[in-house]
Amino acid sequence: MKTKGKTRRIAVTGWQDRVMYAFTDTMLVIIFIIIAYPLIYVLSSSFSSGPAVSAGRVVLWPVDFTLNGYRIVFSYKSVWTGFANSLFYTVAGATFDLLLTVLAAYPLSRPDFKGRKFYTTLFLITMLFSAGLIPKYILMVNLRLTNTRWALILAGAFSTYRTVVMRTFFKVNIPGELFDSAKIDGCSEFRCLTKIVLPLSHAIIAVTAMFAAVANWNTYFTAIIYLRKPELLPLQVVLREVLVAQNVDLTQITDAETLAMMTGSADVMKFSLIVVTTVPIVIIYPFIQKYFQKGVMIGSVKG
């Protein structure tokens, strides 16, 4: 972004430039509105009253502000189990994924590690060719993993792409001399990893963990293939049942008072559930945001 500071010092003279800047700024504002408006609309609707949403009266801000939508959502039993399940799958899945990524990326980042080529090829093939949905399903059935929590943690872990990104980060950011001196001091590889590499790699660890966590939190398809038991389902599946199937199961609501409130509030509830499902991601977003550029870009540097 160095360009910016330098160009600003030179005053804009031509009218063409002024038109150009005015046009870009207007377009950017329009794009901002296009992206932000649906998000604001969903948020506002979730805080509006049932009749206002059903009549289509919400346009920008909440109409007849109320928390009824959220009250209904949280009285829904499967939302609670779904939320807890999703939290578990996200933490366990991301931890496992991160562990695999680090253990693959660190050896591959060492220039003196012979066998690098062999292992890299082994990982890259998975990016190019997949056996397909059904052979994987049969494998999971044969391993007795279907209908267990392990299915969600194991089926989607490890991404070659993230491994390559992390390997490149290690390679670029950690000077080889550090290893040499550590080796002379009698440091084992495992200590090198935990005492030298990881403390120097907060950015990439944060980004990898976040991508793995988001992927796990958003998992839907793996769950509908491998899980049948309702008590194992993640929030995304519950959400889908409510949302896309346009199907609200009244037996899920235990409280009579909420049931009465429920009438005419089916639409608000959908909006509230969308917000509840998305909030955990939005919460971690600002913390990791500063690493985005770094984390994504490093992988495209040829290592």
Binding site: Q16, D17, M20, F113, D267, I274
Partner: protein
């Protein structure tokens, strides 16, 4: 230091000619056993969960029944492939896949480039920051939520679509475009663009920030306007990135993400929304036609592999071996 001792070892202690290959591998494992041990964990995982299913591919040529298992089922040769290619909707499914893919590519590819250029041009740093950070958000929304938002927004009675229709003077309710076969592709593609346009700018923004300021200064001294600088400085700077991204996208033209399609599919739009991957899911897995589904999946994977490899060769050739995606 380390390197020189290794050289002495290899050069003097063991005559190179006498060493057998197997011995060298074993020596390497002994020397770097800690690294090998570390990588063994992800390798084991990948072998089981990525290479494991490859063993099951053979059922594409068999008549798999769970009772007989993979190894015990009878061979049928290319029967399932023939069945798929002669299936009366084969052409429709293939064309649907290509149409959705090509539409996404042509409509969606230029958007992030233009957005990145605009964010680069504007001198309002706050505006740039706001647009950038907002436009990343949709990328993190799950497919289910995305389709949920789409269906709520386009609900003709309660949604934004219906409200705006009435605000602009329409009477009653507009027709339900969520169910309409004609609007399926537009909804699918444009919601995808909405979701990914911000995130896809990252790579271009980075390429643009690498442009040397001297180029801009020289152009300004020569009297170039901002627009001319975009054309002659910024655009050429990101062109290699653009070309590579474009070629790579073409490599995955036959793979349409099926989760979103499945979520948006209904009995009214099935004629345009059935793609190869959804067909594998509904018929192969849903109707327990495991061998048939595996055969279609294999066809899909092989075509994708060929496309990706050829595309990679093209990129390699174009960039003079500088860039190798594999």
């Amino acid at each position: 230091m380390r390197k020189s001792t290794a050289l002495i070892k290899e050069g003097t202690l063991v005559p190179a000619g006498k060493r057998r290959r197997g011995g060298a591998v074993w020596k390497n494992i002994k020397k770097n056993w800690q690294l090998h041990l570390m990588i063994l964990v992800p390798v084991t995982y990948v072998l089981i969960f990525y290479y494991g299913p490859m063993y099951g591919i053979q059922i594409a040529f068999r008549n798999f029944t769970p009772r007989k298992g993979i190894w015990g089922s009878d061979w049928v040769g290319w029967q399932h492939f023939v069945d798929f290619f002669t299936y009366h909707d084969f052409k429709t499914i293939l064309l649907n896949t290509l149409a959705i893919s090509a539409y996404s590519l042509f409509a969606g590819f230029p958007v992030p480039i233009i957005l990145a250029l605009m964010m680069h041009v504007t001198r309002r740093n706050t505006l740039r920051k706001i647009v950038q950070n907002t436009s990343y958000i949709p990328h993190f929304i799950s497919v289910v939520v995305m389709v949920g938002i789409l269906f709520q927004v386009f609900n003709p009675i309660t949604g934004l679509y219906g409200s705006l229709y009435r605000m602009l003077g329409g009477t009653g309710y507009p027709s339900d475009i969520r169910l309409n076969a004609g609007s399926f592709r537009h909804l699918y593609v444009w919601s995808g663009i909405w979701q990914e346009m911000g995130w896809s700018t990252i790579i271009y923004v980075a390429a643009l920030s690498n442009v040397s300021p001297e180029l801009h200064e020289a152009a300004m001294i020569d009297g170039a306007q901002r627009w001319q600088r975009v054309r002659h400085v910024d655009l050429p700077a990101i062109l290699p990135t653009v070309a590579i991204r474009l070629i790579l996208r073409c490599g995955s033209i036959l793979s349409v993400g099926y989760v979103k399609v499945l979520l948006m599919q209904n009995s009214l739009n099935i004629s345009v929304s059935e793609v190869i991957s959804t067909y594998v899911y509904t018929y192969g897995l849903g109707n327990m036609k495991f061998s048939y589904g595996t055969a279609i999946g294999l066809f899909d994977s092989v075509v994708n592999l060929i496309l990706l490899l050829s595309v990679n060769r093209l990129v390699k050739w174009l960039s003079g071996n500088e860039m190798n995606m594999l």
